[in-house]
């Protein structure tokens, strides 16, 4: 009996560890990075902080690290341009709502922080939105796309520099229906709010078109999809992967090749990675543009390649979000030491005629970016991403 109980206790410990460690690693760390060496007045005017909530470790650390690199670049450039002394405080959320909540409480209790960039995931925004709202702290995500984040009215101080799923999802689905003409398709969510949200937005379009749908679901942690690929029938000519991990989409493509199946992969956002997802003939839709193709971004691209050589489309919207906050702080500085409320007001009044994203930035009353675009790319035989359409 003793053996049974102790073994059961250990198994329970394992399962608890599995639960709390879905992106286990370190606890939320908040290290401070002074991202500018110049700028800032000698009197310390405008010496305030911005928090960044990103998955710096864990399953999608590659995306979080990209976001952090771009946030640092923005703070550095804006400090130099505006003469401010903004510092960046890092908070690692591991893409977990619970972790994001802890980091958010740390940020709220840090009186130097007057605005926050992030968090990355819609599920995290859902968890922390009311906390930020109560603290009157503006937070701008560069990747949370779930429509309810702004439509629910729960997140009064939330803004985003990306389009919403209800724009991107139906547009992606319409493109698949009208250009790829599948009779049957497989759509695989990765069991995260982001992914299931996009699936919900796409499915009605497919159903309306009379396409047979095989909806599957697989954890982000899975790295072998051969069993799923075995279910891809000859009639299944399209596989939709609204995923956050590009390497997983690449592996799915390899499993298709391994089993001699010819379905076309259509990935979204997280799968945009010219270094990690290169399966020829696949499509990737993204909330962010390829800034290497925007001439006005040349200097940022050079700096970004030095800071994070293999960047994709998660960094630029964060650069835009950080820039919005930097400008709001600089604006608030003109009438004294910036406060959370003055920064929030300035963010609401944002009206940039151009941005790193190749479009103006202005928020509507709910916090969504007006006329936010989405982009669709096709991967050619050399692994290059070619823009198919952007709206």
């Amino acid at each position: 009996m003793k053996v049974r109980i102790s073994l059961a206790a250990m198994a329970l410990t394992a399962l608890v560890a599995a639960g709390c460690g879905s992106s286990n690693t370190t606890t939320a760390s908040s290290s401070t990075t002074k991202a500018a060496s110049s700028g800032g007045s000698a009197q310390g005017k405008c010496a305030v902080s911005i928090g960044i909530e990103a998955p710096l470790t864990g399953q999608v650390a590659v995306l979080g690290q990209e976001q952090l690199a771009f946030a640092k670049l923005a703070v550095q450039a804006d400090n130099q341009a505006n003469g401010t002394d903004i510092t960046l405080v890092q908070g690692d959320t591991q893409l977990m709502p619970a972790q994001a909540t802890t980091v958010t409480q740390q940020f709220i209790s840090n009186s130097k922080i007057v605005g926050v960039v992030g968090p990355a995931g819609s599920q995290e925004v859902e968890a922390v939105g009311p906390l930020f709202g109560r603290a009157g702290l503006a937070f701008i995500s560069g990747s949370a796309t779930n429509p309810t984040l702004t439509s629910s009215g729960k997140n009064a101080t939330f803004f985003r520099t990306v389009s919403r799923d209800d724009v991107q999802g139906p547009e992606d689905a319409n493109f698949i229906v009208t250009h790829l003409h599948p009779k049957a398709l497989m759509i695989v969510d990765d069991q995260e709010v982001y992914s299931t949200g996009l699936v919900s937005a796409m499915t009605p379009v497919f159903q309306k078109a009379g396409i047979k749908i095989d909806h599957e679901s697989v954890s982000q942690k899975v790295t072998d999809f051969s069993s799923l690929v075995a279910k891809v029938t000859p009639q299944t000519t399209v596989v939709v992967l609204p995923w956050q991990v590009a390497a997983n989409a690449q592996q799915f493509g390899k499993n298709l090749a391994e089993q001699h199946k010819n379905a076309t992969i259509v990935g979204t956002d997280g799968t945009y990675s010219p270094s990690a997802f290169t399966t020829a003939g696949s499509y990737v839709s993204s909330f962010g543009p390829d800034i290497t193709a925007i001439p006005a971004d040349a200097s940022i691209v050079t700096a970004a390649k030095a800071a994070f050589p293999k960047f994709g489309t998660f960094g630029p919207p964060i650069y835009a979000a950080t820039h919005v906050l930097d400008e709001a702080i600089a604006s608030a500085c003109k009438s004294g030491q910036p406060s959370r409320s003055s920064v929030l007001s300035a963010v609401k009044a944002t009206d940039e005629s151009s941005s790193i994203l190749g479009q103006p930035i202005k928020f509507d009353s709910k916090g969504d970016m007006e006329n936010a675009k989405w982009f669709l790319f096709k991967i050619d035989k050399t692994g290059k991403y070619n823009l198919v359409t952007g709206s």
Partner: protein
């Protein structure tokens, strides 16, 4: 029938990896009664060592020496390196706690797991690394069975897993070291009184178990291409499940459990839905813990009171 064979091959490939990692769980549990939760991360370290050996020989598209020698070098480096790492972990993290309450080394094992994951993150970054195996072992190197094309790498993983497990079983049954391991597993104090070097035996156990995990990591890289710092976590849990299902402490049980879990996963995904795969697999773990905690091939242990 085609789908059945395809899923069976998929299950055997994944199951072979589970079995190799489960063996390490089982061996360590056998001698120390410790669930080494860092074991899945040793598998991850093995995958990284194999990757860097591959790069050292020119990378997947420009190998400087014949492919079989590269693969052999990857297995040897990963097996040796991870084996040594396992010995070091036992020496510095677990040995000081050998006589502590059992929860202490268990928590330490979780700590070691996080340490390994974050060390790899710090050293090599968050980016996924790609073995790109098909660049040097093309998909065309396959055999056709019942309408299913089975890639050479899948065959290699299945065959090598079985060979390694058989070899380990022979080592435990027929060699001096194996007898010492069984003696320590049965009664450590009595083994020590009989002159067995317990520390050496435990270190050797950790070396063997860790080396198998390292080799499994290379196999995973070859078969599934993508490696990253957290790849060992969920696999470690699945391997633990396999060890429990087979009978923790039993080498044939770990083998059987690994293949059963791998095949169950493949058939659940293929014939029910991928949505239910983890639910059912961990459900199996709970059912076994309740109804048959000794697993399929495990034995009830007598406890001195």
């Amino acid at each position: 029938m085609t789908k059945f064979i395809q899923e069976l091959v998929n299950g055997l490939t994944q199951g072979g990896l589970y079995a190799l990692v489960a063996l390490g769980y089982s061996m360590v549990y056998g001698v120390l009664k410790l669930l080494n939760f860092a074991h899945g991360d040793l598998y991850m370290v093995g995958a990284f060592i194999g990757y860097f050996v591959l790069q050292w020989f020119g990378g997947p598209t420009a190998l400087a020496i014949p492919v079989p020698f590269v693969i052999l070098a990857m297995f040897l480096a990963a097996g040796g390196g991870v084996g040594a790492l396992g010995v070091a972990i036992e020496r510095f993290a677990y040995r000081p706690l050998r006589d502590a309450p059992r929860i202490a080394p268990l928590i330490t094992a979780l700590g070691v797991s996080f340490l390994l994951e974050n060390t790899v993150l710090l050293l090599f970054g968050a980016s996924y690394r790609d073995y790109n195996t098909s660049a040097f072992i093309p998909y065309s190197t396959e055999i056709r069975i019942g309408g299913v094309n089975i890639w050479l790498v899948q065959i290699m993983v299945i065959v090598l897993s079985v060979v390694l497990m058989f070899g380990l079983q022979q080592l435990v049954v027929r060699t001096q070291l194996g007898r010492q391991m069984r003696a320590v597993a049965t009664d450590r104090e009595a083994a020590e009184m009989l002159g067995i070097n317990v520390d050496y035996t435990i270190s050797a156990t950790f070396f063997l178990g860790s080396a198998l995990a390292g080799i499994a990591g290379v196999m995973a890289g070859l078969a599934f291409n993508e490696i990253y710092q957290l790849m060992g976590f969920i696999l470690g849990l699945k391997a633990f499940t396999a060890a429990v299902v087979g009978g923790i402490g039993s080498i044939p049980g770990a083998m059987l459990g690994g293949f059963l879990i791998g095949i169950a996963e493949a058939f659940i995904t293929g014939y029910i839905s991928s949505t239910f795969t983890n639910l059912i697999v961990f459900g199996i773990l709970i059912v076994f813990m309740i109804l048959r905690p000794t697993g399929l091939l495990g034995r009830v242990q007598l406890q001195k009171v």
